[in-house]
Amino acid sequence: MPDDVDLSVEVAGLRLKNPVLPASGTFGYGHEPGALFDVSRLGAVVVKGTTLRPRAGNPPPRIVETTAGMLNSIGLENPGVDAVVAEHLPLLARLGVPVIVNVAGDTVDEYVEVVRRLDRAAGLIPAGLGLELNISCPNVEAGGLEFGRDPALAARLLGMVRAVTGLPLIVKLSPHSPDVVAMGRAVQDAGADAISLVNTMVGMAIDIWRRRPVLGGITGGLSGPAIKPMAVAMVYELAQHVDVPLIGMGGIATWQDAVEFILAGASAVAVGSALFANPLAPLEIIDGLVDYCGAQKVSSVRELIGAALPRRGS
């Protein structure tokens, strides 16, 4: 029976053969040998944060292990959008799976320009190119505020981006949105095709012997199993109030974790930091989902999306 299980889902117009993705920034560009498995088995590949110009990133230490998680302040090290298009997309195309490029910027103009250039490159990826807007970066224009905390700013950004592309647009929310529902509705209304959540949470570690923050960037983003209960709660909350599909992430390490997100309302899930200890986690999750669907006697994983949500009023 498990062989008959249909794991395919559609998210933001992308057809994914299964709902398991790597999380942006934890999987390089997906075509490196470091992946250690046949990447074409994934639902899609998500590449790391791409900015208009190359960025060198933050001073080390950039990462530190925490209890059941880690902090990172990579600082968006990346070769810039033109290099991503020229060097990485052609190699990614060979994998035959949809590609989602994570987009970051300091200003609305920067986002728009990165998106414009990616939009022009869409033909490189026949299996489908999607964009994931990372809106939890400091917004210089708005005086240090963050897009990810202010629904109106986020909606404005989205409108501008939507105007220059017809590609699938996924908006990645910060877990620090004071009101995730307001934020989700704002980006949905402004044209987002899907919402991914959560990004990392602000945290820090202190080196008690040197009496100073461990990270070169002082604070960093917390990820890993530590944050899973908060991420599940946010997905569960948002799923009750928006109609676009959700991509759930935050601490997923096992298929059981992935199922929690799916039952909470996620149409797809992404595995991030857990890849570091267990590079094969995505494959184990795919296998686990097949078995779970079998045990639950459903023929498609789609029947399980949101199955733990309270019945929704019409």
């Binding site: 059941a68 880690m70 090290e77 096992t254």
Partner: protein, 268 residues
């Protein structure tokens, strides 16, 4: 190329208090591993617990200490200091561990002009032992300079002796060898022009001292640096090491571009 291998514990022995030699059956890594390369062990998944433990969260990195391609075995030598390494110390013969490796670029044995100085201390010693053994087997002159806090903190000295690599020792308290730091025993040999290449592995302050010394003597030197590592495979960009040079800072990955760098290439 790095791969994932299930290593089966063959033996685990204490060498000095708190320090263990772990012998794993890991044929793949035993065949391809070179001195200066390392492995990362998933200490949170001994015997693949059903749900891997998330604390410790990352794999732990250990340099290759001995490889035996015939027997398909790999040894690492480690200090059980923190929670991950102490958990590893619980592993018993027959237990299974997920081992990722061999990782990194290792020491450039072929390019090194002899005589080679192997300089290090503490848990930096195992890769130097591996290098020394290879040099000895090839008849290439090498000498080890090992620094430590005191006599009872030293290990690996017998290994050098056993393969015919002479070893000189310094300790902070003078309880073994020369009282002082490792550069104190290295300097006279550099002055006497008895060293053409330096390989170093040890704590960062020691590496910095070696960096200073070799630049003074304009000697080629290769340093194996330490950094926090999450993936070990060039994917997370977490293990950045600052590259030397003016202007905008530039970084390399300790895991894939290193852990061994040319001394003048990096800022420690």
């Amino acid at each position: 190329m790095a791969s994932l291998e299930t290593g089966v514990v063959v033996a685990q022995e204490t060498i000095i208090p708190g320090h263990f030699v772990l012998t794993l059956a890991a044929p793949g890594i035993s065949r391809t591993g070179r001195p200066g390369q390392f492995v990362m062990i998933d200490v949170g998944a001994i015997n693949k617990l059903p749900h891997p433990l998330a604390d410790p969260f990352w794999r732990r990195a250990f340099g290759l200490y001995r490889v035996d391609p015939e027997a398909g075995r790999v040894d690492i030598l480690y200090r059980a200091g923190g929670k991950g390494s102490r958990l590893l110390a619980l592993a018993a013969p027959g237990d299974k561990l997920s081992v990722l490796g061999p990782l990194g670029n290792g020491f450039p044995l072929e390019e090194a002009e002899a005589p080679v100085a192997l300089v290090g201390g503490g848990t930096g010693v195992p890769p130097l032992v591996f290098a020394g053994r290879v040099f000895a087997s090839r008849g290439i002159p090498a000498k080890a300079y090992i620094g430590g806090r005191s006599a009872n903190q030293l290990f690996g000295l017998d290994d050098f002796a056993a393969c015919g690599v002479p070893v000189q020792v310094s300790t902070d308290d003078g309880s073994a060898g020369v009282r002082g730091v490792v550069t104190d025993i290295l300097r006279p040999d550099l002055e006497a022009l008895e060293v053409r290449t330096v390989f170093a592995c040890g704590p960062t302050p020691m590496l910095r001292a070696v960096q200073g010394l070799v630049s003074q003597f304009k000697l080629p030197a290769y340093l194996s640096v330490e950094a926090y590592m999450a993936c070990g495979r060039g994917l997370c960009l977490g293990c950045a090491v600052r590259l030397a040079g003016d202007g905008e800072p530039r970084y390399a990955n300790a895991c894939t571009d290193g852990p061994v760098f040319r001394s003048e290439e990096v800022v420690l």
